[in-house]
């Protein structure tokens, strides 16, 4: 019987496999494409080498004073020396263990929540207690901790405080507003619509001005909010309107049958909304919500206009130090990098979540 040995297939020609094929397909497939590749290389050449030269090759890292910065590049000594200012603002130097503790605890708490399964009630309780714990540690006044007024809080610490309080408080208010807008009761509905559209139509800075200048007039004499509290009120009520719109878009994705099924089960309004509709609506709209929270995080930088010293304001403060004049470039680049890390990781997280929650079949 004849034997027919299997002849292994020939490998594709050299030009059609591996890195060469990839380059040919993605960079050089047509005359236009070649032109674009050259353009791209030119742009990269204009940006990357000067930046690396400035930020690394010609930069100074070692030393403690401006005199140590001898190169033509960046003076990272400045950022290194002012790091505590960038991170904690005017928080007293000998008390810095307190903000560090607060940040350490939240990181530990998140790791705990992520790594340890179940124990949901304990986790929830810890997260509810945490803000009070953070406030007591940061502000002090008990257990032998000296009082540190909120005017002394600053830098990244303040940015994180504003962002996390803003996110935590604007979320429930936003849900209530969204429910109000969906409501069949005309007065509640129109009040919600009026509020949401009003806030979304004006810039945040006017709301912050309102909160910092006009809000004190609204309350009787003696009731006094500090500047931070006023900024928090402004930001929270501003972002709540955006959260409400996100959640409303989630409502629109819920099929009518869900409402009818909840009604058929005899659930009341709050049960229907809390147990059936909201969980689904929020799940659908999580990517949008994260988007809103990213813009909230970026928007915290606006508090510098009403005189709070957040991360961005620290650039002006530190670069006005007589020993470090003319260092704003390094300051801005560093602060931009810090902001970028936070917002970029939030958007990466949202993309991952979107994929994870995507239960559609295509």
């Amino acid at each position: 019987m004849a034997v027919y040995p299997i002849i292994p297939g020939k490998e594709p020609p050299l030009l059609d496999r591996g890195a060469i094929a990839w380059v040919r397909r993605n960079l050089l497939s047509s005359p236009y494409n070649i032109l674009f590749t050259i353009l791209g290389i030119a742009i990269l050449y204009m940006i990357i080498p000067p930046f690396i030269k400035w930020a690394f090759l010609d930069a100074n890292f070692a030393g403690h004073t401006k005199a140590d910065c001898t190169g033509n590049g960046a003076c990272w000594v400045f950022v290194k020396e002012k790091l505590n200012m960038f991170f904690f603002g005017f928080y007293p130097h000998d008390q810095l263990f307190r903000p560090k503790l607060v940040i350490g605890v939240i990181v530990a708490l998140m790791a705990f929540a992520k790594l340890v399964p179940n124990l949901n009630k304990l986790k929830l309780a810890l997260f509810v207690i945490y803000p009070f714990f953070a406030y007591f540690v940061l502000h002090g006044g008990h257990f032998g901790l000296s009082i540190v007024e909120t005017t002394k809080w600053g830098g990244l610490l303040l940015t994180l405080v504003i962002a996390s309080v803003g996110i935590t408080l604007s979320f429930p208010i936003g849900i209530l507003l969204a429910l109000g807008r969906q409501s069949k009761l005309p007065i509640i509905k129109s009040l919600s619509v009026f509020y949401i559209e009003l806030v979304r139509g004006v810039p945040l800075i006017t709301v912050l001005f309102m909160a910092s200048v006009v809000l004190p007039l609204f309350f009787p004499e003696g009731v006094n909010f500090n500047k931070l509290a006023r900024a928090l009120i402004g930001i929270t009520f501003f972002e709540a309107a955006y959260v409400a719109e996100n959640i409303r878009s989630g409502f629109q994705a819920i099929k009518k049958g869900q409402y009818e099924a909840a009604d058929a089960l005899g659930l009341g309004y709050w049960q229907k909304m809390g147990l059936i509709i909201l969980p689904q609506a929020i799940k659908v709209t999580i990517p949008n919500l994260v988007g809103t929270f990213i813009s909230l995080f970026k928007d915290t930088s606006l508090v510098m206009i009403i005189g709070l010293f957040d991360l961005l304001a620290m650039v002006t403060v530190t670069a006005n130090d007589r020993d470090w004049l003319g260092m704003d470039t390094e300051g801005y680049v560093f602060v931009a990098f810090v902001f970028w890390i936070f917002t970029f990781s939030m958007s990466m997280y949202s993309k991952r979540l979107e994929k994870k929650l995507d239960t559609s079949n295509n």
Partner: protein, 384 residues
């Protein structure tokens, strides 16, 4: 629970009554406190301050403004400056956004990644930081007036801003404007005619090329017929600064560049998602009809992509207009800087001034959403 409370309708009315009552009481409480506080602190009320003399000068004013002008004039200058920077910002951000959005879809890996890098970098940095960076770092380190960057003796760039020639429209210029209007009308008519002819005979007409020719030729002819009425004045160095041409201050430029670069990232994403949202079957159908790549893009893909992309692009324009209020940080004299800033500090009438400012932005937002709604209803897929 009493029987009447089990009726959903009655409960609804009850809830609303409670809400209204709470709301009215809340407003009353606030009004009471406010009037008391205002009296206590001796703050004036009412809108009379609008007619009072402002007493300060504005460096960059598109209309005549002196320290004797009123706060109402301050409002007008601020609003016009807001609109000016928004107008140029919308144009510049659209151009950048369009280029980046198309690059983002390019099959060329390098260009694609470059666009993605641009988007991820500038979208994730607060726009206020970008404004301050342009103002305090990029524009502040430009050379001084004497060592200006000189482009063909026509444009000058230095740390006082950007200086360009100014056109003076002398008598007879109306002919150029008239020619431009006639050209536009002719193009509209041409487009209709070409469409009708194609419907009737199937023959196509090169509308785009003809339109460009008409648009360029007619005003040019008018320019020469009217005896070259447009005079150009070049900026010249007098003492410490340039005079004669148009001046664009560093405040304006920093705001414009930062807003445009920031907003362009969102516009690019909107354009990309619009094009990607067109179902694959549409492209395949266009291929099987034998349309050329250009025709596929122009007749099948873009009309559908635009419908999806435009609403979010318009929303980004609105965001740009609202973000222009961040000029308060660098002192470009727009609405928030001079009216809600300087005027507020001078008069102390925060409530009135902030109300006027917010209502102004609300009206702008309202107008933009009217445009959006009009567009949506016009673009809605016409189903049989």
């Amino acid at each position: 629970m009493p029987a009447f409370l089990r009726d959903e309708k009655i409960r609804g009315i009850l809830y609303q009554l409670i809400t209204i009552l709470g709301f009215v009481l809340f407003l009353y409480y606030i009004a009471q406190n406010t009037s008391h506080n205002i009296q206590q602190r001796g703050i004036k009320t009412g809108f009379d301050f609008l007619h009072a003399t402002a007493g300060f000068d504005i460096t960059e004013s598109p209309i005549a403004f002196t320290p004797e002008s009123t706060h109402w004039d301050v409002f007008k200058v601020g609003l016009i400056n807001t609109l000016i920077v928004s107008f140029w910002g919308i144009i510049l951000s659209s151009l950048i956004g369009l280029v980046i959005g198309i690059w983002r879809l390019s099959p060329n890996w390098l260009i694609n990644r470059l666009a993605a890098g641009y988007i991820e970098t500038f979208r994730n940095i607060p726009v206020l930081l970008q404004i301050l960076f342009w103002y305090n770092v990029v524009l502040a380190t430009l050379p001084s007036t004497r060592d200006s960057i000189n482009l063909f003796d026509t444009f000058f760039i230095n740390n006082r801003g950007f200086f360009s020639p100014k056109f003076i429209w002398q008598s007879g210029s109306w002919m150029i404007a008239a020619a431009a209007i006639i050209a536009i009308l002719a193009i509209v008519w041409l487009k209709k005619w070409a469409h009708k002819r194609q419907e009737a005979t199937g023959e196509q007409f090169p509308v785009l090329l003809t339109s460009i020719a008409i648009l360029v030729l007619l005003p040019t002819i008018a320019y020469f017929v009217a005896g070259r009425p447009v005079k150009t004045i070049y900026p010249e160095l007098h003492g410490f600064n340039f005079r004669g041409g148009s001046t664009y201050t560093p405040e304006f430029l920093a705001l414009l560049f930062a807003l445009s670069i920031y907003t362009a990232t969102f516009i690019a994403e909107a354009i990309r998602s619009g094009i990607e949202a067109v179902p694959k079957g549409q492209k395949e159908a266009a291929v099987s009809l034998g349309l050329s790549p250009t025709q596929r893009l122009r007749l099948v893909i873009l009309p559908q992509a635009v419908r999806i992309a435009i609403p979010s692009v318009i929303n980004q324009y609105l965001n740009l207009i609202k973000n222009s209020s961040l000029a308060a940080a660098i002192g470009y004299p727009e609405l928030v800087t001079i009216f809600a800033g300087t005027s507020l500090n001078q008069t102390g009438q925060a409530l009135e001034i902030l109300l006027i400012t917010m209502i102004t932005y609300l009206i702008i937002s309202l107008l933009v959403s009217l445009v959006l709604n009009w567009f949506n209803s016009k673009m809605k897929i016409k189903e049989r």
